[in-house]
């Protein structure tokens, strides 16, 4: 389909091309956004969405092409140029400054100043507060929050600050790059409301999302990208998820997820022996008396709002953070380990959240990233790394997990998010774990990669492993888990068992409702 010719377009991007050191990230891309519309940008990882957004936001300059806003040709060389034209961007990666207060963050680069005329040098925090106070309050940020350094906030609250920051300046064009990642359903919906309200106020929005389900009823137009090129634009009302998936990946949606339908029955199995048990584990104020157990062949989901202590639980199990009381038993034996390396040796492994910063070792190669957690396996005499066998192992994983790279010696940084995540999973599998912990395993990766990662988790468990999955998306947890534990404020507040059976009985909504209610702390209806 062709890009709809939109003479009334507000923003027109024509023929934009961007090459990074020989790699073509965008090739002759067109985009046209009408006034007051929510325009979704879709595409797999590496399709070029982020690059286009970076171009519009002034983070990178295009090699060729033009950008026109309201008929005026724009030269966007740096972020401040974009801001000056009313183009505001909420990047997928938070762009907040930890050392600054919420207020200073919101007004960073656009500070209001007071003082005698011609000498307006003093920051006018009073006016700034006044201006943003009510907006902030709507998103649950108190006055005190405005004065606290952002570094003290959790991920969710940071995301909220980021959104308030974007909304505070009445943008003409608001670009949202995966704005809901890490948000709970409630906040997600609050944001959607705002997006609608902005549209009603004649603001156009460009919205990048991997969650096709979010589009319907919200977005007006969707433009699909593939391999750095525009596939086409389509009114959202005229399309379906399957249609979009096909455009994004050039294959039918059923091919992506079909095979798993057959696997579903095997999920309903008797749990095997207990592998991991936690008894009354506490850690400061973030974990309180958590007791749980995980069995062979089981996927245990952990649900909870951000800040409920899910990641902290994973870190405590892995020995990254020291627990203050309680005990951890592995295969029935108590383990006391002060460091994650000990846990890896004993058969635990973890795929951390925030892949880019906590998962990958960006400057190391794919092979090196795979072997790092179990160097013993590829070393001679216990300390000399055998590069040959290291590469051979990596090669095996590359094939078996279809990690898309021609060379396992390439730096992992250069892979797409989904492939990076597969490498991290390979790293964990390489330690022959009996328990594998996944913390937000599919955050920021595209639909097809997500399916692949889910399959990896299921395969691992099917082969006799045990998995703990932490995910903010309740839907993802329900899809994967046999059993879900819900956390709130560092405690376990509930357990939902028999999920596969419930799904087989079409009781999805009931399960979802229970999880959400427990996590939010409301009484179960």
């Amino acid at each position: 389909m062709a890009v709809p010719d939109a003479p009334d377009a507000m923003l027109v991007v024509e023929g934009v091309t961007k090459r990074y050191q020989g790699v073509t990230a965008l090739l002759d891309v067109d985009l046209s956004v009408r006034p007051s519309e929510i325009h979704a940008l879709l595409g797999g990882n590496g399709a070029g969405k982020s690059t286009l957004i970076n171009v519009l936001a002034g983070v990178t300059a295009p090699d060729e092409g033009t950008i026109t806003l309201d008929g005026e040709r724009l030269e966007i060389r740096k972020p401040s140029d974009a801001l000056a034209h009313g183009i505001t961007t909420v990047h997928q990666e938070l762009s907040l400054v930890p050392a600054l207060t919420t207020l200073d963050n919101i007004f960073l680069g656009r500070e209001m100043r007071s003082g005698p005329p011609g000498l307006k040098v003093k920051l006018d925090r009073k006016t700034m507060t006044k201006r943003v106070e009510s907006l902030a309050a709507e998103f649950g940020l108190s006055r005190i929050d405005l004065q606290l350094p952002v570094g003290e906030f959790g991920a969710l609250k940071k995301r909220v600050v980021e959104i308030v920051k974007a909304l505070a300046f009445e943008p003409r064009l608001l670009i949202l790059d995966e704005p809901t990642s890490g948000l709970e359903d409630d906040e997600r919906h609050r944001l959607f409301e705002y997006m609608r309200a902005l549209r009603d106020r004649d603001v156009s929005l460009i919205w990048v999302t991997h969650h096709l389900d979010e589009l319907f009823g919200l977005a007006d137009t969707a433009t699909v990208f593939r391999d750095g090129q525009t596939v086409g634009s389509v009114p959202v009302s005229d399309t379906s998820t399957d249609d979009l998936v096909q455009r994004m990946f050039g294959i039918a949606a059923s091919e992506l997820s079909g095979t798993r339908e057959d696997a579903a029955p095997e999920r309903v199995t008797e749990p095997g022996a207990e592998v991991l048990r936690l008894s009354d584990v506490s850690q400061g104020t973030v974990l309180r008396e958590v007791s749980l157990s995980v069995h062979r062949g089981e996927i245990l989901g952990i649900a909870g709002l951000a800040g409920a202590g899910r990641t902290e639980l994973a870190r405590a199990i892995m020995g990254v953070d020291k627990i203050s009381s309680g005990s951890v038993h592995l295969h029935g034996k108590r383990v006391q380990v002060r460091h994650s390396s000990g846990m890896y040796r004993r058969g635990l492994a973890m795929v951390p959240e925030d892949r880019k910063h906590l998962g990958i070792l960006g400057d190391l190669s794919i092979a090196e990233n795979i072997s790092i957690s179990n160097l013993r396996r590829v070393s001679r005499f216990g300390f000399v790394v055998n590069k040959g066998s290291e590469a051979a192992r990596a090669e095996e994983y590359r094939k078996s997990m279809s990690i898309r790279t021609p060379d396992v010696h390439a730096k992992i940084r250069n892979l797409s998010g989904g492939n990076q995540q597969k490498v991290i999973v390979a790293r964990c599998l390489n330690t022959d774990p009996s328990v594998l912990i996944f913390d937000e395993p599919t955050q920021g990766i595209d639909v097809s990669a997500k399916v692949e990662v889910h399959n990896l988790i299921r395969d691992f468990v099917a082969a006799g492993g045990a998995a703990i999955v932490i995910a903010s998306e309740v839907a993802e947890l329900i899809e994967l888990s046999h059993r879900v534990l819900v956390m709130k404020k560092g405690r376990l507040v509930g357990e939902i068992t028999g999920i596969p059976e419930a799904l087989a009985d079409n009781r999805y909504d009931e399960v979802e409702h229970r999880i959400v209610s427990l996590a939010a702390g409301r009484s179960v209806a």
């Binding site: 982020s50 391999d227 160097l375 892979l415």
Partner: protein, 349 residues
């Protein structure tokens, strides 16, 4: 294309651009002053340069792990003093050598312990131990004589020659080879790189980051101790201010060779090449009769051009190389120059 890209990859290896520059500089100096490559001059040059090269290699380990060690200079001085003291007190040479190396080891352990266990910034801790080691040498030199020691065994470490080349050269080569092996081929080295790239991510991948960092300070301390022993051997006597200021030369040499202050990038041989470059410049200027007041300017210029040159070479290679394979995920920008710069500010907390 194939051979071209291989050439490019070699050029892009850390330290290679500087090594090429080093060869050019040596040739230029040889043309300017024919004595430059005369055996006696080369032997002097090696003997003078090797102690600092050892320190450079030691600090390179710390830097690759994302840290910094400022105490190395005065620790080397103190180790030299302890060696002379031990030998002067009648202990056999091997014991003297051990005493010197052990002194460095003690400082490495103290540095590593305080930094990793208390989580205190390494710049400040090692600045403090710099003062402590320097002070101890002064106290030592006031209380015992660190001169007039007749120790042929100790002296033979640097003044003797094996196969016509100074013994200290062989000692250094062995140490460098072992260290290069340790860094590039062993489990420890791999963990060290992981730590330097991202200590958080390395922790989560099961690397005992604290222990790795602790070990880097121990290595740095031990090599400073070894450097002290060679200094003692060459000088035959120790003066109270020995080693002061060596730390900056060593760090500059390592960085010039391509060891990144942000951590996670570098190699022993690159550090050695960078250190040799500084030593060569100094020796070359000296043999051409340039007043040392110009040295600091020339050295400053060399560092600036060297680091810029290295960066440009890397960038060029990246650009040329990337065209080669579809390995690069489209849109995943391999090097966001701004982002990588952000880490490169030199010292991390």
């Amino acid at each position: 294309m194939r051979s071209g890209s291989r050439l490019m990859r070699i050029l892009g290896t850390t330290g290679v651009p500087i090594a090429i520059a080093l060869v050019i500089v040596i040739l230029v100096f040889q043309v300017l002053s024919p004595v430059f490559l005369r055996p006696s001059a080369v032997s002097n040059y090696l003997n003078n340069g090797i102690p600092i090269l050892l320190i450079t290699v030691g600090v390179a380990f710390v830097i690759v792990g994302g840290g910094i060690d400022l105490s190395i200079g005065t620790v080397a001085g103190l180790s030299a003093g302890m060696t002379i003291w031990a030998v002067g007190a009648g202990m056999p040479t091997p014991v003297g050598v051990l005493v010197g190396v052990a002194t460095g080891l003690v400082f490495g352990v103290v540095n590593g312990f305080v930094i990793t266990q208390f989580g205190i910034n390494d710049f400040i801790v090692t600045l403090a131990t710099l003062n402590v080691a320097g002070g101890l040498l002064i106290v030592l030199s006031e209380n015992v004589s660190l001169r007039g020691v007749n120790a042929p065994g100790l002296a033979s470490l640097t003044q003797g020659s094996t196969l016509g080349i100074p013994t200290s050269f062989w000692i250094a080569v062995v140490i460098f080879v072992v260290m290069q092996f340790l860094l590039m081929r062993t489990v420890f080295g791999r963990r060290l790189f992981a730590t330097g790239v991202s200590s958080e991510a390395a922790t989560l991948a099961g690397v005992e980051v604290r222990r790795v960092r602790f070990n880097t300070f121990v290595i740095s301390g031990v090599l400073a101790g070894a450097a002290g022993v060679l200094l003692a051997s060459r000088l035959g006597a120790v003066q109270a201010f020995l080693g002061m200021g060596y730390e900056f030369t060593a760090i500059a040499g390592a960085v010039l060779g391509g060891v990144s202050l942000a951590g996670g990038r570098g190699s022993v041989w690159a550090a050695v090449v960078g250190g040799l470059m500084l030593a060569t410049l100094q020796q070359g200027l000296r043999l051409n009769g340039v007043d040392p007041v110009y040295f600091s300017i020339v050295t400053g210029l060399a560092i600036v051009t060297g680091v810029v040159f290295d960066r440009q070479a890397q960038r060029l290679v990246l650009r040329r190389n990337v065209g080669g394979g579809p390995a690069q995920a489209v849109g995943a920008h391999p090097v966001a120059p701004e982002a990588s710069h952000a880490r490169e500010t030199g010292v991390k907390s």
